[in-house]
Symmetry: D4
Subunit: 255 residues, 8 copies
């Protein structure tokens, strides 16, 4: 938020057209920090329910560090940078020793609140194969850092479908189920045919040849014959977790 805008709200407040609460809300809602190369969005949580998360791919490590610092200063929530490599983490850690790194999930994070608010309301994550694990871990780490109880069930692909049936009871209890699968992505439809919770499907780039970097799984999931399945981008464990978090939150709130 620019100086000018803040002053405009203050003048309106003084003139009486905005009361104190309205003024504070407006400033909270539209605040951001202009760093030249970035405009850190300090009001994202106010608007969207979760704070800004850094997409580290395509950013220099200096940029990632500076934005992390800005976010730390502007909020008291957990801070994350996704798609971050180990080198960036080493760089960040020097100035932010409290930063941690999940190298499977490729997430740098600063954990400031560690409590899982509600063990009853859970998110389940299920993968088709072991090779899908990094994406599933990105989803699990994100969900956990956002305060959700989350379970990860690995390697339940349809080539051995009895492995899925063994986990069905656990899946049935979740408020939202994230299905992570590459190759033909059939798992999403099969799970969709068996449980009641909303399903978020994450295609992965696992596969070769005509998997076209995840396109095959993506199309499978979009064309699922089971209703109640929605899809996010290829390898987007983070996005699936945010969607699941919002659904889980809704269940929690309503209690």
């Amino acid at each position: 938020m620019t100086e000018e805008k803040i002053r405009e709200f203050l003048r309106r407040y003084k003139a009486g057209s905005l009361d104190e609460e309205e003024t504070a809300a407006a400033i909270r809602k539209f605040s951001f920090e202009d760093m030249g190369f970035a405009a850190v969005d300090h009001s994202r949580e106010e608007r969207q329910g979760i704070a800004e998360v850094i997409y580290a791919a395509g950013k220099t490590k200096e940029q990632t560090l500076k934005i992390m610092k800005s976010l730390i200063a502007g909020s008291d929530k957990n801070i994350m940078a996704t798609r971050a490599d180990g080198e960036t983490y080493e760089f960040v850690k020097k100035e932010l020793p409290q930063a941690q790194y999940d190298d499977e999930a490729r997430i740098i994070y600063v954990e400031r609140e560690n409590k899982i608010l509600d063990e009853e309301n859970r998110i389940a994550i299920v993968t088709a194969g072991t090779s899908d694990l990094p994406v599933a871990k990105e989803a699990w780490r994100t969900a956990t850092l956002l305060g959700n109880a989350a379970d990860l069930f690995c390697d339940c692909g349809v080539a051995g479908i009895h492995r899925l049936f063994n986990r069905l009871d656990a899946l049935q209890k979740a408020n939202a189920v994230i299905v992570v699968a590459g190759m033909e992505g059939a798992l999403a439809s099969v799970v969709g045919g068996l449980i009641k919770a909303p399903i978020i499907a994450v295609p992965t780039s696992v596969g070769y040849g005509a998997s076209f970097g995840g396109v095959s799984a993506l199309l499978s999931m979009l064309n699922s014959c089971a209703a109640g399945v929605a899809t996010v981008n290829i390898d987007n464990g983070f996005g699936a977790a945010v969607m699941a978090h919002k659904i889980n939150l809704l269940a929690k709130k309503k209690q």
Copy 2:
């Protein structure tokens, strides 16, 4: 469910390896009617939370009618056939005079319970343009037949973004928001940046040339820079509504 299978459960019940409740549950869970050209899934609601819905495209009108009758016999819920043309409706109506037709949504339905259970928990549907209306209506009709309170806001595309801002308050109150947009599909990201509820994005085939029958909007939605957006197939208003229904149900249940 085949005769043989039913008998197997009964024998186990008699032998004592299944008790009465288990036997009934098993039969409920795996029952279907084999009609030769179709195997009507009478246990879908038990498993997935909503009853089987007929996808009328590619079926003859005789097939659609017979499956509708089987569903009516097997359940007391609202019955729907999506992607149905007027000719099929005329054919169905002769034998099922209680059937109704939403010609914008292309849904034939038999309404048997008409109560919206809960006015507090709502689904919002918002379209980018007037041409997206048929898909939005498919979503609205489906959501309503599944018992949800649902609102439809039309023509809020980003070419005149103030029209969206005027509806933001209403959107903010919904448990789930369905965004229906063709062409470049930018609306999903913009809404995603402004509200807290989970968003289900429906790309439509509205557009021409490089919209490639909805691919442009689909890719936009999958690549949304706003988290908390998940996508369904092009023109799949039905699927979006089922996803929203499951989310809304979660909120309702938890109260």
Copy 3:
């Protein structure tokens, strides 16, 4: 086979460089009838194991009729024309009253040997939905006309996977299983994970939007996580049946 070529073989026979058997085999192997617009391949059965089948799409009805007559004259097997419309059938029937038409499968055929040679060795065909039926019928009709015992199980898609489990025993007994599915085509992988027979997957153009006319199902099947699955072209029930026939024949021969 041109006159000149036939004469060359005869001369060699006379000269003693080919014996009687060799000469007859050579003529059988390379014979065809040049009709100007077509070169009817009378030696295809000799080489490939099944006689030439007419692909009627893109041919005039006059051309289809003339090729049928040539095939009837050159062989004593069942004769088929695939992808034929009703109008072509009406035209053909006038001159070939023994011709029959399977309008679901869109096959015109002249049945000359009606015996299913071997009830023990069977082909199974399973579809995901009712809308996949025309393609499955093309496979079933082809398999039957080639002399195979064939069973068709309809509507076993993964949205209600228990319907598949009820047919597993029958599928297990087949020498080859043809899986016909549109949309996300997940059924092929699921069947592939459960049975021992070789599986021929047929993607169908059933679906809309991101099914891209069968591409989604095709990619799923090519990327199947279950091994022992091979795929034919979209909607190619005919090709799947020929592949299954050759496999089934192998089992029969070996007895």
Copy 4:
């Protein structure tokens, strides 16, 4: 298979609803080992006819080793890991000195039964060019480890089609023929026009420009004008060999 499930079967056995044979079969059929990052499918051979094979791509070398050990413990068959690089082999070899590596085929394997059961029933593999050799070797190694007699004929592409004709007699004798070709993949159709055995076509990523990493060959094979050709994924020598093995097995069994 979870402890709980095993106990359920045992209780049923004790209660008399399952006899001894049924109990053993059920346990065999649904057994797997949960390793956290993987659920090793020890019942795959029981269900599909061949044991689980490790797809090493995307797995860490530690994961590959652990799964190999689990498979060795759970079966007495040959064990394979496909798409494995040399580094993984070096790592595996330290703990499993009996492991061998086919670096052309990129397969790590532990050979425990080395007998080719039946020299009469053979699989033939034919390549269009020398550059297709790694994929053909993957097929050959897989077929051989599964106990098949297999022959590999290299460099028979249609640019010099007489090279194919010289191998036709050998191809004619096989129960299944695997055709491996990149670029335009024409070889599959040509072979398909000349022999009676079922043909499994493997497109390879050999080529450049508009070969699009194997798409050109893949489309050729899917659109083959010769019937009796089915296709697997690009570069999927492994899958083709499993399909051929199942066909060959069928011929062997029937003897």
Copy 5:
């Protein structure tokens, strides 16, 4: 050519900077008739070796007629309009009774010189199937109207490759060979491996499913493992004939 330009050349001629021959050549080279909706290129033959040919698709029948008249007035060669439907022909015929129509090739033409200049120098056209005939006829008609001796061999596809071998001698004698094939388009490579003449490959849209309207054949032809094959657009029989004509002309000229 505009009046102004013509006058400029005349002035230069008068001023002596261009001599008579140069002036006439320049006017011939750059002349066209501006009809508002079209600028008929009367100098195309001078520059490219063949006169302008009308592409009738997307033009009204009035436009096609007017351009035909302009071309007739501006040249004494054969005049053609490709991709013309029967209705356009009926319209044209009223004012140009000398116009003829090849309905297979969809070409309207006015034949003004009917001599095939040179029977020794021939173009050969070979098709894979009967369904490719319309495209082959477009090539044949074009080649003939341009004054070439041309032969058409139909239905020589690789599913019955002996049919091709029977025509090899004739193909060997041509100066240029046009191969017309849909589906997998393998014929181009096979012919390319067997003859010395330059080969022009024409993919056709014959096929279905993964033939993608001719893309499969197009890619095959572009990736031909046989050198000496060049490709034109899908269904572009006309363009192939012009290329063959230019090659044939070269051979003729050099005598």
Copy 6:
């Protein structure tokens, strides 16, 4: 703009936080009419410089008529509906007799100001062929209705490039040049190499086979080796004209 919003502005005006001018501007800027199926954007000209234009494709003729009436009531500018068919025009004309129809351009329009403001500042439109004319006419009609002097030069494709050179002088004088071309779309690059004005390239769907409905021309234009070329959607003559209008306006304003 909702009643509520208007009242809010009025209250602020009364309270003195907005002065009269600010209040009027705000209302002008954010006004729209909510018609249920559409939200007509009466402030688009205020924001974007041109009034809302109706995209009639996918709208019913009743919807098109109602939106036209709303636009007529809300502005005194020329009103347009693009992509409108003749039937819609007949329907509209009954209630709006002043409506006119350009059937080549498929635009229904109500002309209320007919003056071309400035003959000096011109837009040039050039097409590659006669078949591109409908798209060029859409551009020309739009440009003219927006008050620009516009010239249309037809059939200047590179197959006869001298036709382009004859129009170069006229093109050089324009403030913006719209190049309309299908097939390979080479004209955009050629013009881009020869003139100084900014060029707006419009690919058209003219062509067949590998033109893929305009994709070939689109890619050509996006990859133009000449700088100063920007591209709009396939067949989007309207969009090109708006872009050219904005550029032309800039030149006019600055005088």
Copy 7:
């Protein structure tokens, strides 16, 4: 321009068919330097308004250096080589010590005129995210070297749309606005709905999975529901800047 051509113009000049001014103009207009591997276009500024710019990708560093020298010799403008890596810069700098390198924009340049001619007429560049910065810098550096006043506003993506609203006033004042965005590219449409200036949209390859290297953003921009948006190639900051420069120049000239 070849010696021969120059001599022809001189002879015409002597003969009086060209006057002095015409002769000089013709030589200026068609002059180039033939370096064997390159034909440096010294007349490009005369024709297109901006001098030739070197596209360094795919050129050796020796080639880049030689062309830079030729351009320096042939003009007194700023010289640029785009898509140049640091190694090429080091090589160039040895012989051209005055060369500078913008490593974010990857442009080597020799600045010879450093004046921004006109502060009033500005170009604005706005990016969706920080990762889009390299492309935006390419646009900014190009615009500046061409003599334009240019402003760069970073990280205004629609996930936090208030950041855009804070920069709207600045954007409104520009003669042309360049919007640089990856992922779903929604920013172009949103800006297009809010300002009057012509907009040049630059899709970037920022993103992953279904962004397909910028295709998602490209399609979004081509399908923008806001008119007055034209698009350049993915990551083509240079081309956008040239287009904006031409528009800005038009405004400047007209003053």
Copy 8:
């Protein structure tokens, strides 16, 4: 050619059914050397007019060397291996010191006949830009090694079209013209509109973003509005040269 086949011909010769000439011809026509990993085609020149050329990509350097040796032993023509890297050359050179390397064209060759047979009959190669040079060099080196007089004109792209006009006279004299262009590939159509010789268009992978590795140029060339243009694979300078050689040969022969 197998021993067995050779013996068969000999036996027929002895038996008198083949005379001496026929026997020699048959052996020449079908001879090849079976090296296990390769079947070197020693009869290719006999059939296709040019000897086998090694495609080194995907072959080991040992394989490339062995095939080169086999070709040297089997023929007295120039020997080539295309797509060969420097490392392979170093390896080959050790055993074949007479081998040479064109590192721009990436061709290893052994020159055994160095005479350009006929300076009158020439091939012309023209490129759009300097970055297209490696592909053009592959064409030039191939054409020269096949005995053609060939000229290379570089950097004549349409952004500075006068550079092309300066070379038109030279292009006009060639029997075949190879046009090498990346990006939008417009040069092929422009040349096609200006000269009479057959044109072979080679799209290159030069470009970025929406050039899609040469697809943009490929589509342009396939859709050329100028007739008499045929296209080869992306970056296939070799194939273009072979096509041009066959055309040139035809002209030479006919003298």
